[in-house]
């Protein structure tokens, strides 16, 4: 049943982008007589300015995250948290990924790859890891890009709210995998 849903969703997914790329201009041209080529070019121009505008924010965030990652501070944090998490039933093997996920997309994909290689794709550890990876985003990267693109410096409650959601996501990943897949 689930196999069927996943299979059909993923096969539909590959048609979405081509449909949008053709469908939107088709509607605009045929129904509203929009000069699609000219309008496209006007919109596309913004791509350059926005991409350039986010550079300083990306440099700031990614450099700080990179230094933190390379220093081994994450491992020290892990050792500190491990007893506590073992106590509440959070698997220690999945903790590095849970901590890495908000910080770095490539870093957490690397950790997930390690989990799959080490425990096998059909292990509960790998399934929890993949659920964590798939159910969350790289909070700090998204913050840098989204707020940076409009020059917002004061993020107010964005980080506490984002990290809280990440924590809830990681805990629910463990909970639902243990409940449904164990």
């Amino acid at each position: 049943m689930v196999d069927l849903i996943v299979g059909s969703l993923n096969s539909v997914a590959k048609y979405i982008i081509p449909t949008l790329l053709v469908g939107i201009p088709f509607y605009a041209l045929s129904v509203k007589k929009v000069p699609v080529y000219e309008v496209f070019v006007v919109g596309a121009k913004d791509g350059f300015t926005i991409a350039i505008r986010i550079i300083p924010y990306l440099v700031a965030i990614l450099v700080a995250v990179g230094m933190f990652r390379a220093s081994g501070a994450l491992d020290m944090l892990l050792n500190l948290l491990a007893p506590l998490l073992n106590f509440v039933g959070f698997p220690a093997e999945n903790l590095p990924l849970a901590l890495m996920r908000p910080l770095s997309g490539s870093g957490s994909l690397g950790l997930l790859t390690d989990l799959v290689n080490e425990h096998g794709a059909d292990s509960l550890t790998a399934k929890i890891g993949a659920t964590m990876y798939g159910s969350s985003e790289t909070t700090f990267y998204v913050l840098a890009v989204y707020f940076g693109s409009v020059g917002v410096i004061r993020s107010r409650h964005a980080i506490p709210a984002g990290l809280f959601a990440d924590a809830v996501g990681a805990i629910s990943a463990v909970f639902f995998c243990k409940l449904l897949l164990a």
Binding site: I17, V36, A44, G47, M67, F68, P160, L181
Partner: protein
Amino acid sequence: MLNYIWFGMMAIGVAAGIYNNKIDAVTNAAIDMAKVSVEIAIGLIGIMALWLGIMKIAEASGLIRIIAKGLRPITIRLFPDVPADHPAIGSIVLNMSANILGLGNAATPLGLKAMEELQELNEQKDTATNSMVMFLAINTSSVQLILPATVVALMGASASEIFVTTILATLCSTIAAIAAVKFLEKRKRFAVAPDAPQQEKNNG
């Protein structure tokens, strides 16, 4: 907040780097990531241009207004300070749809467009509005119906097993994100500061 987190990550990085005898790696990471940041931004230009161009067509043809109108009952609760017919609502809805469908490439340009339109409504340009934080939180908690291609490739036959758990986990984190934003936006310590420091004012 960001000031302390940003400085904290670097300071902890240097301190832990010295303690763990990894200071060279920390230095290299700083220099490498500075380079990588620019590569990411440059790599975005083409995709951004493509989707922003298509978006402009969708806007000019009135498609965005139609979509925004249809989802008004939901968006008006999540973004009460955005007028229901504002173009930001259309971009927000499209960004969320792209996320749900797993179209990461399309989601970012649409999200940045939404941010730009939310910024038009912002009276203090260097400070995030409630709607901006809500929009960001929903994005970082990633509502997703289709698994990322990388996960499918890695997990092989097990991919279909984690389909349900991923949707449930992402649902929980999105609900948590919305609840946290709604709760925190009323706290005094996250209130919009009356005046921003002078040197930050002309930014944005």
